[in-house]
Symmetry: C3
Subunit: 213 residues, 3 copies
C-alpha cells in the first residue's frame, strides 16, 4: 500500500514517464533510420540526436530534484540508478543511429532490423510501466519478465550477426570489405548495449517493486 503521493513525488513520476516516452520516440526514429534509403538517413539521425538531448534534460532534471529534495518517493540510489539506466538506453540508440550515418554503412544485414524491433518493443513496455511505478501493483512483474525475454531475443540476433560478420566470405574479399565488417560490428555492438541497458532498467524496476510491495 503506497502513501498518498505529494506534489514533489508526482514530479518524479512525471519525469520518469517523460523519459519512457522519449525512449519510444528514439526507438521509432532508429527504426525509421534503418528503413530509409541511405541518403535520407541523416535527417533521422538529426532528429534522434534531438530526442537524445531531450532525454538528457529529463535525466538532468531528475538528478537535480534528487539532490534538492529531502524526501523522495523511493530510495535515492534507486532513483539515481533508474534514471541512469533510462539515459543509457537513449544514449546507445542515438549512438547506433549516428554510427550508421557516419560510417555510411549502406547495406545493413537483415537481423539488425530484429535488434531494432526488440528495442522498439522494449521502449514501449518501458513507457507503459513508468506511470505504474506510482501504485506498484502486480502488473509491474510482467514488465521485467517480458524485457528479459526481449533481451534474449536481441542477444540471439546479435550472436547471429556476429557469426555472419566473421564467417561470411563477403567480408573477407578485400581490405575494404574487412573495414565494412569492423564498421558493422561497431553498430551491432552498440545496439546490443542498448538492449542490455533496457535489461538494467528492468532490474531496477524489479528492485523497486520488491522494496515497495
Amino acid at each position: 500500500m503506497r502513501f498518498r503521493l505529494t506534489p514533489r513525488d508526482v514530479a518524479f513520476f512525471d519525469l520518469f514517464a517523460a523519459s519512457g516516452s522519449q525512449l519510444v520516440v528514439g526507438a521509432d526514429l532508429l527504426a525509421q533510420l534503418i528503413a530509409a534509403p541511405p541518403p535520407d538517413r541523416l535527417r533521422f539521425a538529426e532528429r534522434l540526436r534531438d530526442a537524445e538531448h531531450e532525454a538528457d534534460q529529463s535525466a538532468h532534471e531528475i538528478m537535480r530534484r534528487l539532490n534538492q529534495t529531502f524526501v523522495t518517493p523511493f530510495d535515492r540510489d534507486d532513483i539515481y540508478r533508474l534514471a541512469s539506466a533510462l539515459d543509457d538506453c537513449m544514449d546507445a540508440m542515438e549512438a547506433a543511429g549516428d554510427l550508421i550515418v557516419l560510417y555510411q554503412v549502406d547495406d545493413l544485414p537483415e537481423e539488425v532490423g530484429t535488434q531494432v524491433a526488440t528495442l522498439q518493443r522494449a521502449a514501449e513496455l518501458t513507457a507503459d510501466v513508468m506511470p505504474k511505478l506510482r501504485t506498484m501493483g502486480e502488473e509491474v512483474r510482467a514488465y521485467w519478465i517480458e524485457i528479459n525475454r526481449l533481451e534474449n531475443e536481441a542477444d540471439r540476433a546479435y550472436r547471429d550477426l556476429l557469426a555472419l560478420l566473421f564467417q561470411s566470405p563477403k567480408y573477407q574479399e578485400s581490405p575494404a570489405a574487412v573495414i565494412e565488417m569492423v564498421k558493422l560490428k561497431d553498430v551491432i555492438d552498440t545496439l546490443e548495449q542498448a538492449a542490455d541497458s533496457f535489461e538494467t532498467v528492468a532490474h531496477q524496476v524489479e528492485a523497486l517493486f520488491l522494496k515497495e510491495s
Copy 2:
C-alpha cells in the same frame, strides 16, 4: 567483533559462498574449453552457459533478499556492489567461452592459457574468501593482495597478446587473417574484462573489511 548472525544473515553468506563456488565451476569449464579440440568445445560452452544461469540466479536471489530484508549484515549498497561484481566475473567468462566457439577461433595463442589460468586462481581464492566474510578476520587481507597480483599477471598476458596480434605478420597476410585477429582481440578483451571484474570483487571485499573490522 561481529554480532551473532541471524538466520537471515546466514542466508546472505550462503548465497555469496554459492556465487564463489559457481565462479570456480565456470573458470574450470573455460579452462577445459580452451584445452579441448575445437570440435569438443561446444559441449563446454553449453555447460558454461548453464553455470552462468545458476550464477545469475544466485545474484538474483541476493538482490531479492536485499530488497526485502530490513536489516542486512553489511551496508545495502556494499552487498549490491559485491553481488554485481561477482555476477560480472561469471558473465565475462561465459562470454569469452561463447565467443571462442561462435567465432571458431581454433588456434588460440598460448598466453590465452595464462589469462584463463589466472581466472581459475582468482575464482578459487574468491570461493575461499566468501565464507570468511562472516568473521572478517585478518586473513581476508591476503585475498585482495593476491587478487591484485593475479590481475597484474593477467594484464601482462593481455598486453603480450595485443603486441602479438598487432605485430605478428601472421595476421597481416590476407583479409581473412585480419578477421582472425579481430576475433582474437574480442576474445582476449573479454578475458581481460573478467580479470578486471575479479579485481572489482577484491576492492569490494577490502571495503567491507575496512568497514567491519
Copy 3:
C-alpha cells in the same frame, strides 16, 4: 553555508585536490608522449604509468578513509562516485599512452592532438575546482558547464577521426593498413573514454553542488 571543517574533512579535500593535480600531470605526460618522436615515447609512457600508480593510491586512500570515517563531509556514495570517476580519467589516459607505445602507432592523425588537448584543459579545470568543493560557491557552476563544452569538443574530434579511419583509402590499401586502422581506433576510443570520464566527474561535482548549496 558550510559547517566548519574538521581535520578529518580536510583530509578528504586534500586527497581530492591531490587527485586533481595528478590528472594534470597525467594529461601533460600524454601530450608530451604524442608530441615526441616515436623512439622517445616509451619514456613518457613509463612516467604516465607512475602517475597512474600515484592516482591509484590517492583513490585507495579516499576509499580507506571513506570506510573508516563515521562522519564524512559529503554523502558517502557521492564521495565514492567522485573518487571512482577521477580514477577512471587517469586510467583511460594511461591506457591510451600505453597503447600508442605498445601498438607502435607512429603516425597519429592530427585530431588526436585535439582529443589530448581537451583532456589537458579538462584536467586543469578539475584540479582548480577540487579545492573549491570546501566552500562550494557559485564559481563551481562554471566548472561543469565548461567541462560539458570540452566534452562536446572531444566528441567532435572523435567523430571526425572515426570518419577518417573508416573512409580514408589510406587504411584500405592492404591488410597491414587495416590493422593500423584497428590500432588507431582502439587509441581514439580510449581517449574518448577519458573525455567521458571527465564528464562523469563534472556530473558528480554538480550533484554535490546541488546538495550542498
